[in-house]
Symmetry: C2
Amino acid sequence: MEKITIIGAGAMGSALTTPLIENGNEVRLWGTELDGHIIDELRKGNNHPKHKYPLLKEAKLFKVDELEQAMEGSRYVIMAITSDALGMIFDRVVPYLKEDSIVATVSKGFDYDKEGEIVILPEILKEKLPNDLKSIPIVAVGGPCKANEVLYRSPTCVVYASEDMAASKKFKELIATEVYNVKTDDDIIGTEICAAMKNAYAVSLGMAEGYKGIKGLTHNNTKSALFTIATEEMDLFATAMGGSAKSVYGLPGSGDLEVTGEAGRNRILGEVVGEGMKSSMAIQKMQDEDITVEGYPAIKFGYNLVKNLDEKGKIDIKRLPLLTALYEILYQDAPCYETIQKVLNDYCNS
Amino acid sequence: MEKITIIGAGAMGSALTTPLIENGNEVRLWGTELDGHIIDELRKGNNHPKHKYPLLKEAKLFKVDELEQAMEGSRYVIMAITSDALGMIFDRVVPYLKEDSIVATVSKGFDYDKEGEIVILPEILKEKLPNDLKSIPIVAVGGPCKANEVLYRSPTCVVYASEDMAASKKFKELIATEVYNVKTDDDIIGTEICAAMKNAYAVSLGMAEGYKGIKGLTHNNTKSALFTIATEEMDLFATAMGGSAKSVYGLPGSGDLEVTGEAGRNRILGEVVGEGMKSSMAIQKMQDEDITVEGYPAIKFGYNLVKNLDEKGKIDIKRLPLLTALYEILYQDAPCYETIQKVLNDYCNS
């Protein structure tokens, strides 16, 4: 039995308590200041407000001011925080880490490092570690995984990736069950690029779904073509960053894109725009309703990072017309249908 | 303007009249003995009975006894016949072919050649060609393409693959429009293996959809994991046959699997079995209702072909546990949920 602390009581963090507890571990779930009501509900024995499903009663619950207790004697940490707050929250966790700690992260996206460069999230965690703890391994979690289905025990396959394979394997040992299946991998870069970019590209799949609203007819062919183009662009992107194409065509890339394109907020943003709403209006509406759509910032981060890589000669941005189109549609109000149609034309004629 | 004859007035054959006519070609659509009522309806100016959508009025329509007229002066032929009848119908077309003919095929699947070996469909066409016409190039069509959407003009990307790139390019010239986009490729083997096997694997995606019926809960994670495993198995299969992995991770493989997993009869067969109906009963029911599900024979053909390749040392069948599971579930009534769950376990632990 090991002690594991999950940082963040949102959908995914909470769901991971189940396989960890089923493996006989002591699991602490710590909620941020935004999760207070979640912890309150769970302490009352109610369903998790996000999944509408109960957690196992063995999960130990901690509120924002109980981080010390949540971390006491805990060697393993899972960061389950939205990408924009990950670094800030990790700053609070670092004082409780020890030399033999291992940190996993289920957060997905990009952020700016101290030098203002766009980086994948494990880099944000790494730079927050003090010198004497720089050897703590970071494990990135990828692959198709809807949180509620982890609670429901739907058979799932995920990837735990780290430069330090022993760390990936240790986490697999802690968390893998007969339904929550874990593949270990050393390609943290490819896994993270896919984790972030599948949200971006899922917006385009939503657009194809939305076309029914303006044309009255399905666009499944368009959606599948976009799916293919998306994976090929993630391949170029991930390999330019030093990652592996295998992750892109495996669980973290095409697997996760498949599930993300089926439902969720990224797809809904795409659908609304595909149905004809001006992007700037769709975004404004989402912001007014305080809805976070990870794919929206991922499109901008991804586009700008690819532009930087292009300037350094590491990638040819012209070979990523779909990412460019998504940027132009969502940030510059380019016409959705025509812009996407042109991506398909160019894909077949290049 | 060129003359093109489409053999088979089913959903796909009929749909292809549209891009060909829009490019200014003279297009003849010939119906087999099974398509008589379709040609009758179309001649009356009614909707195509399968798509419930009209064809362009320029399409020239021919009934089963008018093959000679349909082929007169036609250099280009598109075979759009179900896989089990392809060879038989092609026998009737061969007398009208000339040295400079090009034959494309949108039929998908496997069949036995004269020696009783399981082969991809272009091989069936090739062996039917007399010696003086052996140089006629065969072009295989792959990629995500629902026929009705070709009629609707939903933007689509397909692949026309041939060992003879000039033949692929010629067909692209004839048929590509601003919405029916054509990519040319020389990988006819990979394209055909994907075209056939995506129907087989789509049955497994349907199973994951069907689990909701017995468990009351979605299994999107399972579906996406199966999607990933399916593409990786198609990679092993296609490359063992001499095809290219690029086709598998491109439009013919993951692109076509995506669209096939969204809807259609292959998925429905999987859903019914996933919901708990015994496979033998589901198959019997389909046969009673005279419903053809291409994925069903493709699972058996694919499994047996892989077994042959395994015996020749060209592939290790143990690395295709999903295909094996599909065979066991559909042909030996193995329990669906448990067998699929084990595929996911093994995938992550091998």
